[in-house]
Every structure is written in C-alpha cells, then in structure tokens.
C-alpha cells in the first residue's frame, strides 16, 4: 500500500518546464470509424510517451488475462467494468497527457450506440482532432459522420492518421491513394487537413518515433503533429460580449455577474444592455480575494456594478455602442440532432444561447445531409443523429453572433419541454422571409412539468384501432367517464365524429384514410401537449398509417388493439354497415372489401368477443391512467 515518493527526479525539470506546466491543457479529440484503431492508438500513444501511471500496464494485462484476451489497450480508457465485459465504450472519457512541457487532454468517444451524444460531450471544446482512418478501408460511414461533426462544432485543426499501413506493406502509392480520397472527402466539408500521418498504432510506427519502414514519409510523426497544434488564441481583442449570468444583491450592493466571452471591459466604459438597449456605465469590476484591477478580459468570470443601478435579466448581452451583434426574429442554423426520434417542422423548443433562452419553432427544414455521399437534399424531417440546415422562428427579435470556430459565438443548443438537450444548433445568420416559409408558428411557454403539477397527470394519446363494430367507441366513451370521475382530464376523438366536421371532405380511399389519420393524430398531439388524456377511436386499418400517427405524436403514443373477428363484428352490425357492404352499397369497407392489418405488438389488447364492456372499459381506463401518471 505504501509507495516511496522521491524528489530526486526534480533536477530534470528546469524553470521553463515548470512555468509551462501551468499552461492550459490543449484538448484533442480522437475520432474515426469503429475498428479503425482509435483505442489501440491511444494506448500506444500513452505508452510510448511514458504517460501511463505506475502499475497501469500490469493492471491492464491482468484485466485482459481475466477475460482471456491479449493486451487490450482499450481497457485503459474503458474504466467501467461493464465496458470491459461487453467490449464497448459506453461513455466518453478524458485522459490527461503530457508531451515534453506541453499538457494535452485526450478525449475518446465511443463509436457505437448514441455515439453522437457522447462524442459531442467530449469534443465540443477540442482545439484539434485526430481522425483515424484504416488505410485498407479508407473513409467509411462513421468517418464521414465524424468529419461532418468536426465541421459543425468548428474544429479547425484535423490530423489524419492513416492506420494499419503495415497491412499495406508501407506501399507509398497505395497510401497516397487513400490520402487523396480522404482529402477529397474533407474538402467537401471545408476541412483542410493540417497533416497526414501514415502509421501503425499496433506496432508503433510513426507514433512517437519515425518508422524505418516508411522512408518515403517526410512529414511529421503523430507526436510531432500534436506538438504543432497551435494553442487557443486570445479572444480579448474582439468586440465585447458579456452575457449576464445572474444578478446578486449582497451587502446592499447589486452585482451583475457573468463571464466575458470576448473582448474586455473597464471601469468607466458605457455598455448597452440586451435587446431593449438601455445604457449604463461600469462603476466597478468586482472580484473576491484577488488583486484589484479595473479591467476584466475574455475568459474571466467576474461581476460588475453599474451606474445607474439598472437590473439586467439573465441572458441579457452586454456590449459596446457601435458593436451591436446581429438582430433577427428568424435565424438560420446548422443542426446536429441528438434525439432518438426525427425532427419535424413545427416543433417547438427552447434555444439556449450562452445564458439566454428563447422560445423557438422550427419554421423549415432547408436541407438534410445524406451521409453516404455528404450531399444535401430537401427533406421533411431530420433523422435521429442526422445533420441538417434549418430555419428557426423566434417569438421576438434576438441578438446573436454567427457561429465562429475559436470563439463561443452562436453556440445554439435546443432543449425540449423537459429541459432535455436534443440538438446543437450553431447559428449561421438571419433568415430571409420568402414564399411559403413566411409562417411564424408559436409554441407554448408552459412546460409539461407545469401542466403535470396542475393536473396531476401527463398528456397521453391512447390510439384504439380495430374493425368497424369491434367496440372502440363504446369502450372509449365508457373509459372517458371512468377517468373523468377519477379526476383525469380525458377526451375522446372519435373517427365518425371527426368525419362530420374536420374531415368532412374525406372519403375512404387509401389516400383519404391516410389523411384522416394524419389529421386525427395532429389534433390528438395538440390535446396531449395541453395535458389531456386523448382516446382516439379510428379503424386505422393500415400499419403504416398508425406508424405515421406514432411518429406525429411521439413518445406520448400508445396503440391499443380492440380485437374482434369480422364474424363477431358482422353479427353485431349495430350500424347496419356490414350488411350494406355485403350488398355492395359501401365501397372499400374494412374487413369486407378493404384490408385490416392487425397490430403486431399493441401496448394493450382488448378482446371484445370474450369479455364484457364493464370489465374491458375498466381495463382501458386503468391503462390510460397508468400511462398518464407513469
């Protein structure tokens, strides 16, 4: 347990080394397609540059042996037992790393499930990236995805490591050919790779030392390439931006607290406060237990007192007269989408921008990136983990600076009603208003939690599908009453009732039935968002139409199958419809002359042929109540 520590090695640290040890660490993110060798590379790099803690190698050998493996370098990074046992990295990690006198932090992100979410978490602040590409395979799907992300988060220095060149026998021509194809890919994304390194992470070629097997390579080794990454530039010389983080009152004094994102501010300066544009003079720059200085610069978290003693809001931006940011109520943004369901036009979010929060609606999806060839195409939705360009409509004009790598400008983040982060939205600039895009959808400022507190339950859609006469409406009406008596705000959207009003222009063709489902789903969604438990009763015979409803409504959707055979329904035939259909008086009648696709795995199945209405409606009510309070 006891370790002897000595100070003998100290003589080797000269004064310059000790000073530079105080420099900030440079974060480097390592990305690349799965199995192209990221983990091996990191293990090799740490080992060859003497950055492993004592006993670490022995520990890894032991963990590998226990699982019957050769040395598994990824265990260095996969510190969780579940990661080692299952051979997958479940979350990004950061490893401090030292090269001579310079400090780095290596960020490793998992390449598998929910990769984007974890990679973003580690990589968003990186100064540089190492893109690992298997030289035999060239750029693959994840190579393109990762490169796209590097562009969107504004990483300017990209080192391309062509790995496993030993398997190409260090053949110069073959390596150059891969280099060319990767360059073409990156050029498409406006990324100019700063350096290419042909290497073998497994054997250590061109990692920390120059390989004798690639005498034709005159460029840097990986370590040399890392050492050449420029340090972050100072942002003190840019126009002032200080987003107000909070306002405090201590000892009868009002403090405006915040971090200076760029520029600098001094006592006596006149600042403009937020979109409303009031002015004030900086009376003092406040710090606690620090040398008094009348100026504060980019990166400092300080507090100001103002004269006159105005009270700004959190989110107000402080800037100098004549240096106003852009102002617009419609903003174009790039998007990396993190939610597991697609994004659709009309959805409402909060846009977080530094400390500000604005209500925004997705006014249009202007283009979506196709990941197989990185082309951009118009589309109706952004798929999970997709990339796009969108237009956001804001409730009022907002102040912003366009996204610029190397600064914190324009770092928009979208959060949903539950305050969950669902996407990154680097802002491009104001959007032009034109043609059909000139709609300004507005969203509610109430969130689901507020509604839940008032009502005691969440909004929910219970979608009843089944043949005509199977008992959907009867069960739903009865359940509605039970729910109401228990204090649940329930409402029935009945297919036939809708067809007398909202859907009165629709018939029973496949296209019209599809539209009927779409309208019912959109109305159900609005009601559920307002906190109601909605029981939809619609034959909705086709699985693809019900899938559409699920997509529109999202996670609040549950499918309930009201099951009864055609024979049973026909024997009931309360509305006389089966008889009419058999006589040919009604076309496209489900179960008789049009198909019914029964749900494969409904959340609940109610068989009206085998149990009574009181029992089944009670089960339906219990189900709806449980789902809305779950």
């Amino acid at each position: 347990m006891n370790e002897v520590l000595t100070t003998a090695g100290l003589a080797s640290l000269d004064a310059a080394d000790r000073d530079s040890a105080l420099d900030a660490a440079t974060p480097i993110v390592i990305v690349g397609h799965v199995d192209h060798g990221k983990s091996t590379l990191i293990g090799r790099l740490l080992h060859d540059t003497d950055n492993l803690q004592e006993g670490k190698v022995a520990q890894i050998i032991e963990s590998s042996r226990k699982r019957g493996l050769q040395i598994e370098w990824s265990f260095l990074l996969d510190s969780l037992q579940i990661e080692r046992d299952q051979g997958v990295t479940v979350d990004s990690t950061r490893i401090p790393f030292r090269l001579g006198s310079r400090q780095f932090v290596i960020v490793d992100a998992p390449g598998h499930r929910q990769f984007l979410r974890n990679m973003i978490t580690g990589a968003a602040d990186a100064d540089a990236a190492v893109l690992v590409v298997d030289a035999r395979e060239g750029a693959q799907e994840q190579t393109r995805r990762h490169a796209m992300l590097l562009r969107l988060i504004g990483i300017r220095h990209v080192i391309v490591l062509l790995n496993k060149v030993d398997l190409l026998e260090f053949d110069q021509e073959k390596v150059r050919a891969v280099e060319k194809s990767v360059t073409e890919l990156l050029t498409q994304l406006d990324i100019r790779p700063s350096l290419f390194v042909p290497a073998s992470a497994r054997d250590g070629d061109n990692i920390a030392s120059r390989s004798e097997r690639s005498p034709w390579h005159t460029g840097p080794t990986l370590v040399e390439a890392l050492a050449a990454v420029p340090s972050a530039e100072s942002r003190a010389g840019l126009p002032l931006r200080m987003p107000v983080q909070d306002v405090y009152r201590f000892d009868d004094k009002r403090f405006v607290a915040g971090r200076i994102e760029r520029g600098q501010v001094s006592v006596g300066d006149t600042v403009i406060i937020g979109a409303q544009g009031s002015r004030a003079r900086v009376a003092s720059v406040e710090r606690w237990s620090a040398p008094a200085r009348d100026t504060a610069s980019a990166g400092e978290s300080i507090a100001l007192t103002l004269e006159p003693d105005v009270i700004p809001d959190r989110g107000d931006l402080l800037f100098f007269p004549g240096e106003e940011p852009l102002r617009s109520a419609r903003v174009r943004a790039r998007l990396f989408w993190l939610r597991q369901e697609p994004l659709r036009v009309g959805e409402t979010f909060r846009l977080r921008l530094a400390t500000a929060e604005h209500q925004v609606t997705v006014a249009s999806i202007d283009s979506v990136v196709q990941l197989d060839d990185l082309s951009e195409a118009k589309a109706d939705e952004v798929p999970p983990e997709g990339f796009a360009e969108i237009t956001l409509a804001v409730a009022e004009a907002i102040l912003f600076d366009p996204f610029t790598p190397g600064t914190t400008d324009g770092r928009g983040v979208l959060v949903d009603r539950n305050q969950k982060i669902v996407g990154g939205a680097p802002l491009i600039g104001p959007a032009e208003i034109g043609g059909d895009a000139a709609i300004y959808p507005s969203g509610s400022t109430l969130n689901a939690a507020d509604r839940r507190k008032t009502r005691g339950h969440d909004g929910r859609v219970v979608w009843l599908t089944g043949l005509s006469g199977s008992g959907k409406s009867t069960l739903a009406r009865k359940a509605e009453q039970i729910l109401f008596e228990r204090g649940t705000d329930a409402v029935v959207l009945d297919g036939d009732t809708l067809r007398t009003g909202l859907c009165s222009n629709l018939g029973f063709s496949e296209a019209d039935r599809h539209e009927n489902v779409r309208r019912a789903a959109e109305v159900a969604k609005i009601l559920a968002e307002a906190g109601h438990v909605v029981l939809v009763t619609l034959i909705s015979p086709l699985a693809k139409d019900r899938a559409l409803a699920r997509q529109i409504i999202g996670e609040r959707f549950d499918e309930v199958f009201v099951a009864a055979s055609v024979e049973v329904c026909e024997s009931r035939d309360v509305k006389g419809l089966y008889a009419a259909a058999r006589e040919g008086k009604i076309q496209d009648f489900t179960g008789v002359s049009a198909p019914y696709e029964a749900p494969e795995s409904p959340a609940l199945k109610l068989e009206t042929g085998s149990a009574g209405i009181p029992e089944l409606s009670a089960r339906l009510a219990d189900f709806a109540a449980a789902r809305s309070r779950g």
Binding site: L5, L80, Q245, S297
Partner: protein, 266 residues
C-alpha cells in the same frame, strides 16, 4: 495580462457554481473537510463575492481523524458557514456483498441519501475530479440522479457548450461537479497561490503523510518527506503513483468503486 491555467480553471468553476445557484434550489455543497472541498468552498466565495449563499453539508461517518473535526469547528465559524450535519447508518446495515472497505464507504452513500431526502435537495455540489479515478473520468459537470439516487452510466445526457442538464422530474437531483477538470497538482498550486487552509495531516511527519483523506480505518498514509505545500507540489511533479492508492475501497476488487458510484457514492 494573460490568463494562466489556474485562472482558466477558476473562471470555469465559478461559472459552474453560478449556474448551479441560479438553476437548482434548494442547493447545498458537500464539505468533506479535505483539500478539494476547501478549494471548492473558496471558489464559491469567489463566485459570490465572499459569501456562501447555500448551506454546506458534512456527511459525518464519525470515523474521521480528530484533526478534521477541529478544522470543521474552526472554519465553520471563521467563514460564517451554514453547516448541516448528517450521520451515517452502521456498517452492519450495508450491502454484505461489497468488500469490507467499500462496505464501510457505503455508509456515506446512505448518509448522503438521507440528507438529500430530508432537505429535498435539487442540487448537491461535490468536489470530485476526473483524474482521481476511471469512473469519475466519465462524469458530467451536471450529473442527473433519478429516484433512488442511481447514476445511470449508460444514459448520461449530452453536455456541451456550457449547457447543463436540469432536473425534469420530481425526486430527481443533480450532482454538480465544479472541480471535474482540475488535477491534483492544480489543487495544490491553487491552495498555494490563494493561501487556502488545509488540515495538517497532508503534511509529512516522521516520513509519512496523507495524500487523500477518508475514514481513518480505510485510509493509509504514504511515505513522504513533503512537509510544505511547495514540497508537495514538487513531489507530485515527479510521482507516477495514483492519488487514491491509499484509499482501500478503490483497490479491493475491479468493480468495487464502480458499484459504489452507481449506487450514489461520490
């Protein structure tokens, strides 16, 4: 004037503490009486202009060193702290499948959980760092805990561009980690620069010192002659031994510490 590494770390921690105070109420800070939590308290006073606007909590295992209790008494008064004390259930009530030292450490998890319930806390500020231990390297700055205080490693929220998770369900709380990016050596350099007091046990006496302070039954001193802050910094510049080598619970079995953390340990 150009900002050095410590200035940057300080500014980021102050930003985090101000976010926590703005967004999470009620909020409290854990004060373990160790070097990291003293730095954290100091940073809170930086953030709030000399004030600590929330209570500090000591989850007392009653197994600390006497020097630590003396320190607590002295600085609660000097720094005008609103101190909340919590106690831990006996070790016999802990999960018997944990190895002995981890079982002892699990008492603190139980004591902490009880305090979070009692004070209905939405935010708990804790002084863990990424460089201490592999599972802590995977943490978020704002780390949501569901009901039962479980850490859901597989399902951590995205966190980037200084935008943090906020609680969205009743019974949830957020662990706030303002020191996550600090290294052990940064802590000592900051203590030296700012003149932050620490318990004497960190300084060598008779060739031994404590590098990390926990319960006295499961914490061991290292061999060292570093008897001043400057000597400790010098020692850390050259060592390749991990900081928590003297904490028995980290080293019993491969997964002991991970199990503790998933269950709500710091």
């Amino acid at each position: 004037m150009s900002a050095d590494h410590l200035d940057q770390l300080e500014a980021q921690s102050v930003f985090i503490l101000r976010e926590a105070w703005r967004k999470l109420k009620p909020l409290a800070m854990l004060w373990s009486l160790g070097k990291d939590s003293n730095v954290m308290l100091w940073l809170a006073r930086k953030a709030f202009l000399g004030h600590v606007p929330f209570p500090v909590m000591h989850v007392d295992t009653e197994m600390k060193f006497p020097e630590m209790y003396d320190f607590r008494t002295e600085y609660t008064k000097k720094w005008n702290l609103d101190l909340l004390l919590g106690y831990c259930p006996p070790v016999e009530e802990m999960d018997p499948t944990l190895p002995p030292a981890a079982r002892s450490a699990a008492r603190k998890t139980a004591g902490l959980a009880a305090m979070i319930e009692k004070h209905k806390l939405q935010g708990v500020i804790a002084g863990i760092r990424r460089d201490e231990q592999g599972t802590r390297a995977k943490e978020r700055v704002f780390s949501p805990r569901g009901s039962g205080h479980k850490w859901d490693i597989r399902n951590q929220p995205p966190e980037f561009w200084d935008q943090y998770a906020t609680p969205h369900e009743d019974g949830m709380h957020i662990r706030v980690h303002p020191l996550l990016a600090w290294r052990e050596i940064d802590i000592w350099r900051y203590i030296e620069r700012e003149g932050i007091p620490v318990v004497d046990l960190y300084f060598a006496k008779n060739g031994k010192r404590y590098r990390s302070l926990g319960d006295k039954n499961i914490t061991f001193p290292i061999d060292s002659n570093a008897s001043t802050i400057a000597e400790i910094i010098t020692e850390l510049e050259t060592t390749k031994t991990s900081e928590r080598a003297g904490r028995a619970m980290d080293n019993e079995t491969e997964d002991a510490f991970e199990r503790l953390r998933v269950a709500g340990y710091l």
